[in-house]
Symmetry: C2
Subunit: 220 residues, 2 copies
Amino acid sequence: MPDQPRFELYAYWRTSATYRVRVALNLKGLAAQERFVNVDAGENRGEAFLKINPLGGVPTLVEAGFPPLTQSAAILEYLEEIAPNPPLLPSDPHGRARVRSLAAMLATDTHPLITPRIKRYLMEHGFDDAAWRAWQIQWFSTGLRAVEQRLASESQTGRFCHGDTVTMADIVLMSIIVVVRVFKIEVAGTPTVNRIAALCEAQEAFAKADPMRQEGAPQP
Amino acid sequence: MPDQPRFELYAYWRTSATYRVRVALNLKGLAAQERFVNVDAGENRGEAFLKINPLGGVPTLVEAGFPPLTQSAAILEYLEEIAPNPPLLPSDPHGRARVRSLAAMLATDTHPLITPRIKRYLMEHGFDDAAWRAWQIQWFSTGLRAVEQRLASESQTGRFCHGDTVTMADIVLMSIIVVVRVFKIEVAGTPTVNRIAALCEAQEAFAKADPMRQEGAPQP
Protein backbone atom coordinates (compact mmCIF):
# COMPACT_ATOMS: atom_id res chain seq x y z
CA MET A 1 0.00 0.00 0.00
CA PRO A 2 1.50 3.39 -0.89
CA ASP A 3 2.29 5.83 1.92
CA GLN A 4 -0.13 8.62 2.67
CA PRO A 5 1.14 11.67 0.76
CA ARG A 6 3.09 14.06 2.99
CA PHE A 7 1.38 17.14 1.56
CA GLU A 8 -1.99 18.39 0.45
CA LEU A 9 -1.83 21.04 -2.25
CA TYR A 10 -4.88 23.28 -2.48
CA ALA A 11 -4.84 24.22 -6.11
CA TYR A 12 -6.67 25.60 -9.10
CA TRP A 13 -6.00 24.20 -12.53
CA ARG A 14 -5.10 27.49 -14.23
CA THR A 15 -3.08 29.45 -11.69
CA SER A 16 0.52 30.10 -12.51
CA ALA A 17 1.63 30.01 -8.87
CA THR A 18 0.03 26.60 -8.29
CA TYR A 19 1.81 25.25 -11.37
CA ARG A 20 5.19 26.27 -9.91
CA VAL A 21 4.60 24.26 -6.74
CA ARG A 22 3.30 21.29 -8.72
CA VAL A 23 6.44 21.19 -10.86
CA ALA A 24 8.77 21.52 -7.87
CA LEU A 25 6.99 18.67 -6.05
CA ASN A 26 7.25 16.53 -9.19
CA LEU A 27 10.94 17.30 -9.71
CA LYS A 28 11.78 16.45 -6.11
CA GLY A 29 9.62 13.33 -6.09
CA LEU A 30 7.46 14.58 -3.22
CA ALA A 31 3.95 13.17 -3.11
CA ALA A 32 1.06 15.57 -2.66
CA GLN A 33 -2.69 15.05 -2.76
CA GLU A 34 -4.09 17.87 -4.82
CA ARG A 35 -7.34 19.46 -3.60
CA PHE A 36 -9.29 21.36 -6.21
CA VAL A 37 -10.46 24.85 -5.19
CA ASN A 38 -12.66 26.47 -7.84
CA VAL A 39 -11.34 30.01 -7.77
CA ASP A 40 -13.55 31.18 -10.64
CA ALA A 41 -16.59 30.02 -8.63
CA GLY A 42 -15.30 31.79 -5.49
CA GLU A 43 -14.62 28.61 -3.50
CA ASN A 44 -11.38 30.14 -2.25
CA ARG A 45 -13.54 32.70 -0.42
CA GLY A 46 -15.86 30.04 0.97
CA GLU A 47 -16.07 29.04 4.62
CA ALA A 48 -14.47 25.61 4.14
CA PHE A 49 -11.32 26.92 2.47
CA LEU A 50 -10.96 29.97 4.72
CA LYS A 51 -10.58 27.53 7.63
CA ILE A 52 -7.49 26.18 5.88
CA ASN A 53 -6.11 29.51 4.63
CA PRO A 54 -7.88 32.55 6.14
CA LEU A 55 -6.60 34.71 3.29
CA GLY A 56 -8.16 32.50 0.63
CA GLY A 57 -5.12 32.22 -1.60
CA VAL A 58 -4.02 29.30 -3.74
CA PRO A 59 -1.65 27.57 -3.82
CA THR A 60 -1.71 26.55 -0.17
CA LEU A 61 0.50 23.64 0.80
CA VAL A 62 -0.56 21.77 3.93
CA GLU A 63 1.67 19.44 5.92
CA ALA A 64 0.06 17.72 8.90
CA GLY A 65 0.97 19.41 12.18
CA PHE A 66 2.24 22.66 10.68
CA PRO A 67 0.69 25.98 9.66
CA PRO A 68 -0.27 26.08 5.96
CA LEU A 69 2.41 27.31 3.60
CA THR A 70 1.49 30.09 1.20
CA GLN A 71 3.12 32.18 -1.54
CA SER A 72 4.75 30.16 -4.29
CA ALA A 73 8.23 31.68 -3.92
CA ALA A 74 8.26 30.85 -0.21
CA ILE A 75 7.00 27.33 -0.92
CA LEU A 76 9.70 26.71 -3.56
CA GLU A 77 12.40 27.82 -1.12
CA TYR A 78 10.87 25.59 1.56
CA LEU A 79 10.86 22.54 -0.71
CA GLU A 80 14.46 23.29 -1.66
CA GLU A 81 15.44 23.33 2.02
CA ILE A 82 13.67 20.13 3.06
CA ALA A 83 14.43 18.18 -0.14
CA PRO A 84 17.67 19.52 -1.61
CA ASN A 85 17.86 17.00 -4.47
CA PRO A 86 17.70 17.64 -7.30
CA PRO A 87 18.72 21.23 -6.47
CA LEU A 88 16.60 24.01 -7.97
CA LEU A 89 19.18 26.66 -7.10
CA PRO A 90 22.87 26.67 -8.04
CA SER A 91 25.44 26.26 -5.30
CA ASP A 92 27.22 29.64 -5.58
CA PRO A 93 25.62 32.76 -4.05
CA HIS A 94 25.94 34.85 -7.22
CA GLY A 95 24.32 32.10 -9.27
CA ARG A 96 21.55 31.73 -6.72
CA ALA A 97 20.97 35.48 -6.84
CA ARG A 98 20.74 35.36 -10.63
CA VAL A 99 18.19 32.52 -10.58
CA ARG A 100 16.08 34.25 -7.94
CA SER A 101 16.28 37.52 -9.86
CA LEU A 102 15.14 35.93 -13.14
CA ALA A 103 12.30 34.21 -11.29
CA ALA A 104 11.24 37.47 -9.62
CA MET A 105 11.10 39.29 -12.96
CA LEU A 106 8.11 37.10 -13.80
CA ALA A 107 6.73 36.01 -10.43
CA THR A 108 6.93 39.49 -8.90
CA ASP A 109 7.04 42.04 -11.72
CA THR A 110 4.67 40.31 -14.15
CA HIS A 111 2.26 37.74 -12.77
CA PRO A 112 0.61 39.81 -9.97
CA LEU A 113 -0.60 42.25 -12.62
CA ILE A 114 -2.70 39.60 -14.39
CA THR A 115 -4.64 38.07 -11.50
CA PRO A 116 -8.44 37.79 -11.16
CA ARG A 117 -8.66 40.51 -8.50
CA ILE A 118 -6.88 42.98 -10.79
CA LYS A 119 -9.20 42.06 -13.65
CA ARG A 120 -12.23 42.55 -11.40
CA TYR A 121 -11.04 45.97 -10.26
CA LEU A 122 -10.21 47.22 -13.74
CA MET A 123 -13.48 45.95 -15.22
CA GLU A 124 -15.32 47.86 -12.50
CA HIS A 125 -13.29 50.99 -13.25
CA GLY A 126 -13.65 51.58 -16.97
CA PHE A 127 -11.91 48.64 -18.68
CA ASP A 128 -13.82 46.51 -21.17
CA ASP A 129 -12.77 43.07 -22.49
CA ALA A 130 -10.55 44.58 -25.18
CA ALA A 131 -8.80 46.88 -22.69
CA TRP A 132 -8.22 43.94 -20.33
CA ARG A 133 -6.76 41.86 -23.13
CA ALA A 134 -4.44 44.72 -24.14
CA TRP A 135 -3.36 44.95 -20.47
CA GLN A 136 -2.61 41.21 -20.34
CA ILE A 137 -0.62 41.38 -23.57
CA GLN A 138 1.27 44.46 -22.39
CA TRP A 139 2.58 42.90 -19.17
CA PHE A 140 3.14 39.35 -20.38
CA SER A 141 5.10 40.78 -23.33
CA THR A 142 7.08 43.21 -21.19
CA GLY A 143 8.02 40.48 -18.74
CA LEU A 144 8.91 37.78 -21.24
CA ARG A 145 10.92 40.17 -23.44
CA ALA A 146 12.89 41.45 -20.45
CA VAL A 147 13.74 37.86 -19.48
CA GLU A 148 14.62 37.10 -23.12
CA GLN A 149 17.01 40.05 -23.15
CA ARG A 150 18.84 38.69 -20.12
CA LEU A 151 18.84 35.05 -21.23
CA ALA A 152 20.14 35.96 -24.67
CA SER A 153 22.93 38.23 -23.40
CA GLU A 154 24.18 36.75 -20.13
CA SER A 155 26.93 34.15 -20.19
CA GLN A 156 25.44 32.06 -17.38
CA THR A 157 22.52 31.01 -19.58
CA GLY A 158 22.99 27.41 -20.66
CA ARG A 159 20.62 24.79 -21.96
CA PHE A 160 18.27 26.12 -19.29
CA CYS A 161 17.92 29.62 -17.81
CA HIS A 162 20.99 29.11 -15.63
CA GLY A 163 23.45 26.45 -16.70
CA ASP A 164 22.41 23.03 -17.89
CA THR A 165 19.96 21.93 -15.21
CA VAL A 166 16.48 23.06 -14.24
CA THR A 167 16.26 25.82 -11.62
CA MET A 168 13.50 27.90 -10.07
CA ALA A 169 13.97 30.34 -12.95
CA ASP A 170 12.84 27.70 -15.46
CA ILE A 171 9.89 26.74 -13.28
CA VAL A 172 8.68 30.33 -13.04
CA LEU A 173 9.33 30.97 -16.73
CA MET A 174 7.25 27.92 -17.66
CA SER A 175 4.51 29.00 -15.22
CA ILE A 176 4.07 32.14 -17.31
CA ILE A 177 4.36 30.35 -20.66
CA VAL A 178 1.59 27.88 -19.83
CA VAL A 179 -0.75 30.67 -18.70
CA VAL A 180 0.01 32.79 -21.76
CA ARG A 181 -1.06 29.76 -23.79
CA VAL A 182 -4.28 29.30 -21.79
CA PHE A 183 -5.12 32.89 -22.72
CA LYS A 184 -4.06 32.28 -26.36
CA ILE A 185 -1.59 35.15 -26.30
CA GLU A 186 1.44 35.14 -28.63
CA VAL A 187 4.60 36.95 -27.56
CA ALA A 188 6.97 37.35 -30.51
CA GLY A 189 10.72 37.88 -30.39
CA THR A 190 11.63 35.49 -27.58
CA PRO A 191 13.68 32.70 -29.22
CA THR A 192 15.75 31.86 -26.15
CA VAL A 193 12.66 31.62 -23.98
CA ASN A 194 11.04 29.35 -26.57
CA ARG A 195 14.10 27.11 -26.82
CA ILE A 196 14.20 26.63 -23.04
CA ALA A 197 10.44 26.13 -22.83
CA ALA A 198 10.64 23.27 -25.35
CA LEU A 199 13.31 21.57 -23.25
CA CYS A 200 11.28 21.94 -20.06
CA GLU A 201 8.11 20.61 -21.64
CA ALA A 202 9.92 17.48 -22.71
CA GLN A 203 10.33 16.62 -19.02
CA GLU A 204 7.55 14.64 -17.37
CA ALA A 205 7.71 16.81 -14.20
CA PHE A 206 6.66 19.82 -16.27
CA ALA A 207 4.35 18.03 -18.69
CA LYS A 208 2.16 16.47 -16.03
CA ALA A 209 1.83 19.81 -14.21
CA ASP A 210 0.33 21.47 -17.29
CA PRO A 211 -2.88 23.38 -16.49
CA MET A 212 -4.81 21.64 -19.26
CA ARG A 213 -4.10 18.27 -17.63
CA GLN A 214 -5.53 19.23 -14.20
CA GLU A 215 -8.94 18.68 -12.65
CA GLY A 216 -11.27 21.51 -13.59
CA ALA A 217 -9.55 22.38 -16.88
CA PRO A 218 -11.79 22.87 -19.92
CA GLN A 219 -12.08 19.79 -22.12
CA PRO A 220 -10.24 20.12 -25.43
CA MET B 1 41.65 55.53 5.83
CA PRO B 2 38.41 53.59 5.60
CA ASP B 3 38.19 50.66 3.20
CA GLN B 4 36.63 51.15 -0.20
CA PRO B 5 32.96 50.05 0.15
CA ARG B 6 32.41 46.53 -1.16
CA PHE B 7 29.21 47.48 -2.96
CA GLU B 8 27.70 50.23 -5.06
CA LEU B 9 23.94 50.53 -4.70
CA TYR B 10 22.19 52.22 -7.62
CA ALA B 11 19.18 53.71 -5.94
CA TYR B 12 16.34 56.16 -6.02
CA TRP B 13 15.25 57.91 -2.84
CA ARG B 14 11.59 56.87 -2.95
CA THR B 15 11.54 53.31 -4.19
CA SER B 16 10.34 50.67 -1.80
CA ALA B 17 12.64 47.98 -3.21
CA THR B 18 15.74 50.16 -2.80
CA TYR B 19 14.78 50.84 0.81
CA ARG B 20 14.75 47.08 1.54
CA VAL B 21 18.31 46.66 0.33
CA ARG B 22 19.47 49.76 2.20
CA VAL B 23 18.04 48.44 5.48
CA ALA B 24 19.55 44.97 5.00
CA LEU B 25 22.99 46.45 4.27
CA ASN B 26 22.68 48.63 7.37
CA LEU B 27 21.59 45.74 9.60
CA LYS B 28 24.46 43.56 8.43
CA GLY B 29 27.00 46.35 8.67
CA LEU B 30 27.92 46.11 4.98
CA ALA B 31 29.27 49.30 3.43
CA ALA B 32 27.81 50.46 0.13
CA GLN B 33 28.34 53.60 -1.89
CA GLU B 34 24.92 54.77 -2.98
CA ARG B 35 24.59 56.09 -6.54
CA PHE B 36 21.59 58.26 -7.20
CA VAL B 37 19.55 57.39 -10.30
CA ASN B 38 16.74 59.88 -10.94
CA VAL B 39 13.94 57.53 -11.97
CA ASP B 40 11.35 60.30 -12.24
CA ALA B 41 13.64 62.06 -14.75
CA GLY B 42 14.17 58.82 -16.69
CA GLU B 43 17.86 58.42 -15.81
CA ASN B 44 17.29 54.68 -15.32
CA ARG B 45 16.54 54.52 -19.05
CA GLY B 46 19.60 56.59 -19.98
CA GLU B 47 22.67 55.21 -21.73
CA ALA B 48 24.97 55.46 -18.71
CA PHE B 49 22.76 53.40 -16.43
CA LEU B 50 21.77 50.87 -19.09
CA LYS B 51 25.47 49.96 -19.31
CA ILE B 52 25.27 48.93 -15.66
CA ASN B 53 21.84 47.28 -15.77
CA PRO B 54 20.49 46.81 -19.31
CA LEU B 55 16.96 46.49 -17.95
CA GLY B 56 17.11 49.87 -16.23
CA GLY B 57 15.79 48.74 -12.86
CA VAL B 58 16.68 50.04 -9.42
CA PRO B 59 17.85 48.84 -7.01
CA THR B 60 20.92 47.39 -8.67
CA LEU B 61 23.70 46.21 -6.37
CA VAL B 62 27.15 46.10 -7.93
CA GLU B 63 30.11 44.19 -6.53
CA ALA B 64 33.38 44.53 -8.42
CA GLY B 65 34.08 41.55 -10.65
CA PHE B 66 30.54 40.16 -10.64
CA PRO B 67 27.39 40.69 -12.70
CA PRO B 68 25.04 43.29 -11.17
CA LEU B 69 22.48 41.97 -8.71
CA THR B 70 18.86 42.91 -9.28
CA GLN B 71 15.44 42.28 -7.73
CA SER B 72 15.22 43.16 -4.04
CA ALA B 73 14.11 39.70 -2.87
CA ALA B 74 17.07 38.08 -4.62
CA ILE B 75 19.43 40.70 -3.19
CA LEU B 76 18.15 40.18 0.38
CA GLU B 77 18.66 36.41 0.05
CA TYR B 78 22.15 37.04 -1.35
CA LEU B 79 23.11 39.31 1.54
CA GLU B 80 21.76 36.71 3.97
CA GLU B 81 23.98 34.06 2.40
CA ILE B 82 27.22 36.06 2.31
CA ALA B 83 26.71 37.82 5.67
CA PRO B 84 24.58 35.55 7.87
CA ASN B 85 24.75 37.77 10.96
CA PRO B 86 22.49 39.11 12.21
CA PRO B 87 20.17 36.61 10.53
CA LEU B 88 17.17 38.02 8.67
CA LEU B 89 15.52 34.60 8.42
CA PRO B 90 14.74 32.20 11.28
CA SER B 91 16.66 28.93 11.46
CA ASP B 92 13.76 26.47 11.00
CA PRO B 93 12.36 25.80 7.50
CA HIS B 94 8.73 26.43 8.50
CA GLY B 95 9.68 29.72 10.12
CA ARG B 96 11.70 30.70 7.06
CA ALA B 97 8.72 29.89 4.86
CA ARG B 98 6.46 32.04 7.02
CA VAL B 99 8.82 35.02 6.86
CA ARG B 100 9.22 34.70 3.09
CA SER B 101 5.46 34.35 2.68
CA LEU B 102 4.71 37.48 4.72
CA ALA B 103 7.34 39.36 2.74
CA ALA B 104 5.89 38.17 -0.58
CA MET B 105 2.39 39.33 0.38
CA LEU B 106 3.70 42.87 0.14
CA ALA B 107 6.75 42.63 -2.17
CA THR B 108 4.97 40.43 -4.74
CA ASP B 109 1.21 40.88 -4.30
CA THR B 110 1.15 44.58 -3.45
CA HIS B 111 4.13 46.68 -4.47
CA PRO B 112 4.35 45.79 -8.21
CA LEU B 113 0.85 47.22 -8.64
CA ILE B 114 1.91 50.72 -7.56
CA THR B 115 4.99 51.31 -9.68
CA PRO B 116 5.62 54.19 -12.12
CA ARG B 117 5.15 52.02 -15.22
CA ILE B 118 1.71 50.91 -14.02
CA LYS B 119 0.77 54.50 -13.32
CA ARG B 120 1.94 55.55 -16.76
CA TYR B 121 -0.08 52.80 -18.46
CA LEU B 122 -3.27 53.48 -16.52
CA MET B 123 -3.04 57.25 -17.04
CA GLU B 124 -2.74 56.60 -20.78
CA HIS B 125 -5.76 54.27 -20.65
CA GLY B 126 -8.50 56.23 -18.98
CA PHE B 127 -7.37 56.82 -15.40
CA ASP B 128 -7.17 60.35 -14.02
CA ASP B 129 -5.37 61.46 -10.83
CA ALA B 130 -8.33 60.54 -8.64
CA ALA B 131 -8.64 57.07 -10.19
CA TRP B 132 -4.91 56.48 -9.71
CA ARG B 133 -5.11 57.53 -6.07
CA ALA B 134 -8.09 55.20 -5.50
CA TRP B 135 -6.03 52.40 -7.09
CA GLN B 136 -3.06 53.10 -4.80
CA ILE B 137 -5.30 53.14 -1.73
CA GLN B 138 -7.07 49.94 -2.82
CA TRP B 139 -3.89 47.85 -3.13
CA PHE B 140 -1.91 49.31 -0.24
CA SER B 141 -4.95 48.77 2.01
CA THR B 142 -5.61 45.25 0.73
CA GLY B 143 -1.99 44.24 1.26
CA LEU B 144 -1.49 45.81 4.68
CA ARG B 145 -4.82 44.49 6.01
CA ALA B 146 -4.04 40.97 4.82
CA VAL B 147 -0.69 41.12 6.61
CA GLU B 148 -2.40 42.56 9.71
CA GLN B 149 -4.85 39.64 9.71
CA ARG B 150 -1.97 37.15 9.76
CA LEU B 151 0.17 39.04 12.26
CA ALA B 152 -2.75 39.46 14.65
CA SER B 153 -3.86 35.81 14.48
CA GLU B 154 -0.72 33.70 14.08
CA SER B 155 1.13 32.53 17.16
CA GLN B 156 4.59 33.01 15.63
CA THR B 157 4.18 36.79 15.64
CA GLY B 158 6.29 38.27 18.41
CA ARG B 159 7.65 41.74 19.04
CA PHE B 160 8.38 41.72 15.31
CA CYS B 161 6.59 39.97 12.44
CA HIS B 162 8.20 36.65 13.33
CA GLY B 163 9.49 36.23 16.86
CA ASP B 164 11.46 38.89 18.66
CA THR B 165 14.10 39.84 16.11
CA VAL B 166 14.00 41.65 12.78
CA THR B 167 13.50 39.49 9.69
CA MET B 168 12.97 40.10 5.99
CA ALA B 169 9.25 40.32 6.73
CA ASP B 170 9.80 43.43 8.86
CA ILE B 171 12.04 44.96 6.23
CA VAL B 172 9.44 44.49 3.49
CA LEU B 173 6.62 45.63 5.76
CA MET B 174 8.51 48.84 6.55
CA SER B 175 9.32 49.34 2.85
CA ILE B 176 5.60 49.61 2.21
CA ILE B 177 4.89 51.75 5.29
CA VAL B 178 7.47 54.38 4.31
CA VAL B 179 6.10 54.62 0.77
CA VAL B 180 2.50 54.81 1.99
CA ARG B 181 3.65 57.79 4.04
CA VAL B 182 5.41 59.44 1.10
CA PHE B 183 2.06 59.27 -0.72
CA LYS B 184 0.23 60.54 2.41
CA ILE B 185 -2.10 57.54 2.46
CA GLU B 186 -3.68 56.37 5.73
CA VAL B 187 -4.59 52.71 6.16
CA ALA B 188 -6.85 52.23 9.17
CA GLY B 189 -7.35 49.04 11.16
CA THR B 190 -3.78 47.78 11.30
CA PRO B 191 -2.73 48.02 14.97
CA THR B 192 -0.25 45.12 14.88
CA VAL B 193 1.43 46.52 11.79
CA ASN B 194 1.66 49.93 13.47
CA ARG B 195 3.10 48.47 16.67
CA ILE B 196 5.83 46.63 14.75
CA ALA B 197 6.54 49.65 12.52
CA ALA B 198 7.17 51.80 15.60
CA LEU B 199 9.70 49.26 16.89
CA CYS B 200 11.50 49.09 13.55
CA GLU B 201 11.69 52.85 13.19
CA ALA B 202 13.38 53.11 16.54
CA GLN B 203 16.33 51.21 15.06
CA GLU B 204 19.03 53.24 13.36
CA ALA B 205 19.32 50.73 10.47
CA PHE B 206 15.73 51.52 9.50
CA ALA B 207 15.73 55.20 10.40
CA LYS B 208 18.71 56.12 8.28
CA ALA B 209 17.24 54.24 5.27
CA ASP B 210 14.10 56.39 5.31
CA PRO B 211 13.27 57.77 1.86
CA MET B 212 13.00 61.31 3.19
CA ARG B 213 16.62 61.17 4.38
CA GLN B 214 18.06 60.19 0.97
CA GLU B 215 19.64 62.24 -1.80
CA GLY B 216 16.95 63.53 -4.14
CA ALA B 217 14.12 63.54 -1.57
CA PRO B 218 11.97 66.68 -1.41
CA GLN B 219 13.03 69.14 1.28
CA PRO B 220 10.63 69.28 4.24
